[in-house]
């Protein structure tokens, strides 16, 4: 195929922010090429540079063997279908389409002949005299395409043209665009962030990310053999886990060795392992290569999307002491006050991270006047020291209504899970039955009361606690001690299946050797 357009090392930045970091790309004649990426990846900028509406800071654009860097947009043999169509509101459909021909000063009969041919190409016969402002989104879209194509450009640029249409119309226009491209036989360069759109229409997809090209390939290549985890995540659904090569055809992940195709990785190399959700089959637990528990089920129309946890996360169990604590009533001021005993981590005291406000919230200290209005607690006195032991703290209002509770300073055991690289901590706590009953979001409140937190052992960054397990009914809780387990996310696999499963089911997962795709670890972090 003949090479029509060549981007050579295109660099562009706006206000010091680099949008394109040296893009190299070749586009052939008669190709339907899609620039795919999230907003801000530079795809529209690249298109605008080709259209001549923006000038690159560095690099060259070659068009049909000629450098076109200095050619103004109106002399380029390129036309554009704009994101919001940009139809001329003061002209009817016919005049909009005829615009480019009138500029070229063609004869009236030739213009009307060409415009009519375009109207039938985009299925808008009979709309000549309509005002463009009164057309539907889909019809405006067609006028915009006709207005560009009537100039018989070598290349048509389409800047997210289907973004404003509803789903049904979008699908229709996808087919329509593909048909038009095949009929007129010119190069279409289509910009979108919609992976499905890209897969349906393109001959070639260019996946972009943060001003760089991640992968160029046919839709099949991009889907089946994504170059890296970024592309895999962007196109289709994916499960991506860390793996290590044991030999050229053996990869280890999730503590097991799996046979795989030869992807030319050296033994010992660290790779990203991709398994598409539709390639995983749900089987009986003993028949699966992995076993797990169904965590969630989402109905997607044709299939169900399951999340199956094959390994639990890092967890820590604490005791919740439910005790009834009576509000203290001050007869002289008519004020009431309450607070709970609490545990505190001696390390938090050493770092002097605890303020009076922290004590108030951890003890859940509150005060009310006779009309049940909240009063602020202005006095906090305590004898708390860093040494583990039992201390006391007194909370008081302006009018000297006071309550004293016990503080247990302890050296809690952290759970440090070296294999997952995660640490987790939580403290025992005291709480009243009423506070549990009044809680609107019990899992979140339990996390707060227990000061539960998890972190990455390497860089101390916080890790989400996704699972709070407890064995009581918040509505009917009575005094006593209860175990609560906090856990981080374990290893979960997304599975697409047509058979029905319930949350909590034990299932086996099975997949074939060729369903395991190995990808080079991305060098840059995004």
């Amino acid at each position: 195929m003949h090479k029509l357009i060549e981007f050579r090392n295109i660099v562009k930045s706006f206000d010091g922010q680099v949008v394109l970091k040296g893009v190299n790309l070749n586009i052939n004649e008669n190709e339907f090429v899609t620039l795919l990426g999230p907003s801000g990846c530079g795809k529209t900028t690249l298109l605008r540079i080709l259209g001549g509406f923006l000038e690159q800071d560095e690099g060259t654009v070659i068009f049909d063997g000629q450098c076109i860097d200095k050619v103004p947009p109106y002399r380029r043999e390129i036309n554009t279908v704009f994101q919001r169509y940009a139809l001329f509101p003061h002209m009817n459909v016919f005049e909009n389409i005829a615009f480019g021909l009138r500029i070229k000063k063609l004869g009236d009969d030739i213009i009307s002949q060409k415009v009519n041919r375009m109207l039938s190409l985009v299925n808008l016969e009979g709309y000549e005299k309509r005002s463009v402002t009164k057309l539907s989104g889909g019809q405006q879209q067609r006028v915009a395409i006709a207005r560009a194509l009537v100039n018989e450009p070598n290349v048509l640029l389409l800047d997210e043209p289907l973004g404003a249409l509803d789903l049904k119309l979008r699908k229709e226009m996808q087919r329509e665009l593909k048909r038009i491209q095949q009929e007129v036989g010119i190069t279409f360069i289509f910009v979108t962030h919609d992976q499905e759109e890209a897969l349906t229409m393109s001959d070639k997809i260019v996946v972009m990310n943060a001003g760089e090209i991640e992968q160029i390939g046919t839709p099949l290549e991009i889907y089946n053999e994504p170059a890296n985890a970024y592309v895999a995540r962007f196109i289709g659904e994916s499960n991506i886990v860390d793996g290590v090569m044991k030999s050229e055809t053996k990869v280890r992940f999730d503590d097991r060795d799996f046979d795989c195709k030869d992807y030319h990785f050296r033994p010992g190399e660290v790779v990203d392992v991709l398994i598409r959700p539709e390639d995983i089959d749900i089987v009986k637990p003993r028949d699966g290569v992995m076993r797990g528990e169904v965590k969630s089920v989402v109905f997607k129309g044709v299939h169900y999307e399951l999340m199956v946890e094959t390994k639990t996360g890092t967890s820590k169990t604490v005791m919740m002491n439910v005790v009834t604590q009576h509000d203290l009533h001050n007869p002289t001021t008519q004020e009431k006050i309450s607070a709970n005993d609490f545990y505190v981590d001696s390390e938090d005291l050493e770092n002097q991270e605890m303020t009076d406000q922290d004590f108030i919230s951890i003890a859940n200290a509150q005060a009310w006047d006779e009309e049940d209005r909240d009063i602020s607690l202005t006095r906090v006195t305590h004898n708390i020291e860093r040494r583990p032991g039992v201390y006391s703290i007194t909370f008081g209002t302006e009018k000297k209504t006071e309550i004293t509770v016990k503080v247990y300073v302890i050296h809690p055991e952290y759970v440090e899970d070296a294999r997952h690289n995660i640490g987790i901590s939580a403290l025992d706590f005291f709480i009243t039955p009423d506070e549990i009953k009044e809680s609107m979001a019990i899992s979140t409140d339990l996390k707060t009361w227990a000061s539960a937190e998890a972190w990455n052992l390497q860089d101390d960054s916080p890790v989400d606690i996704t699972d709070v397990k407890f064995d009581f009914d918040p509505a009917t809780i009575t005094e006593g001690s209860y175990e609560i387990t906090f856990a981080t996310r374990g290893r979960e696999y997304k599975v697409e299946t047509t058979s029905r499963h319930e949350t909590g089911d034990r299932v086996g997962l099975s997949f074939d050797t060729e369903d395991i795709h190995l990808m080079r670890k991305a060098v840059h972090e995004t």
């Binding site: 259209g51 103004p72 554009t80 704009f82 919001r84 940009a86 001329f88 615009f99 560009a148």
Partner: protein, 259 residues
């Protein structure tokens, strides 16, 4: 709705006493002979035949229309490039420029006209030129603001689309920017032509005693000559001219919309 309607009663009363009643009186005066009271009304067309029969009056009418027309044309010629320039500035600067333009509008017109009288005294110019300068100065901001509003409402992407389709900057202006700013020009014309044709302060202060426009004519007949009947007739004629020109511009506007 009904209760809202009742709230408009005071306003209707106000309009009735201060606008409708005087208009009816003007109508009655215009078609009656001097010395009439409402009870002894005597119909006549003399006031109109007097106006249209006298070349002096016709010359005054013609001069008024001519100077208003020239003022409007010059306001467009100066105002359009100015508005175009302003709408190409950054948003912040546009606000600043519009503020600067409207600033003189806060100053009393009489004061501004007196200032012009002082300036123009030093130049040996014809009365009509002085009046013309005063009018263009006074009405120009209205024109610029109207055109600027219509240009800045325009989608910038339309210009990009025109370049894309092969139009250079000049062709883009002619085929896109100009037609889309016609509504702004039309409302600018309404805001400039109508006050210009009926203005009497500017010609009085800048034109000297001998320079008379139709507004001054009305003033003279009501206040100096005491001939309310003839004064009313001239007012009526001017009102009809204004209504006719408003109708014409509306029609122009609608035609521009259709294309």
């Amino acid at each position: 709705m009904k209760s809202f309607f009742r709230m408009s009663y005071p306003y209707i009363l106000w309009i009735g006493i201060f606008i409708v009643a005087p208009m009816i009186m003007i109508l009655l005066y215009a078609f009656s002979v001097p010395g009439n009271s409402v009870l002894t009304f005597q119909f006549t067309l003399d006031n109109f035949t007097k106006f249209f029969g006298d070349p002096t009056f016709m010359r005054v009418l013609f001069t008024s229309l001519r100077i208003a027309f020239l003022t409007t044309v010059f306001c467009i010629l100066i105002g359009y490039p100015a508005a175009l320039f302003i709408s190409n500035l950054s948003e912040k600067r546009q606000t600043m420029m519009v503020l600067l333009l409207t600033l003189p509008m806060w100053i009393n017109m009489l004061l501004k006209t007196y200032a012009w009288r002082g300036i123009l005294m030093n130049f040996d110019l014809e009365s009509e030129v002085k009046v013309f300068i005063g009018m263009v100065y006074d009405f120009l901001p209205y024109m610029i603001i109207q055109i600027h509003t219509s240009i800045s409402k325009m989608d910038r992407e339309l210009l990009t689309a025109a370049y894309d389709l092969g139009a250079n900057k000049w062709k883009t202006f002619l085929k896109v920017t100009l037609p889309l700013s016609v509504p702004g020009i039309i409302s600018g014309i309404t805001l400039v032509f109508l006050p210009a044709v009926s203005s009497f302060v500017i010609p009085k202060l800048l034109g000297g005693g001998d320079y008379v426009l139709i507004g001054n004519l009305i003033e003279i007949y009501f206040l100096n000559a005491g001939d309310w009947n003839f004064g009313s007739a001239i007012s009526l004629i001017m009102a009809l001219i204004i209504i006719a020109s408003m109708w014409a511009t509306k029609k122009l506007d609608r035609n521009a919309d259709k294309d």
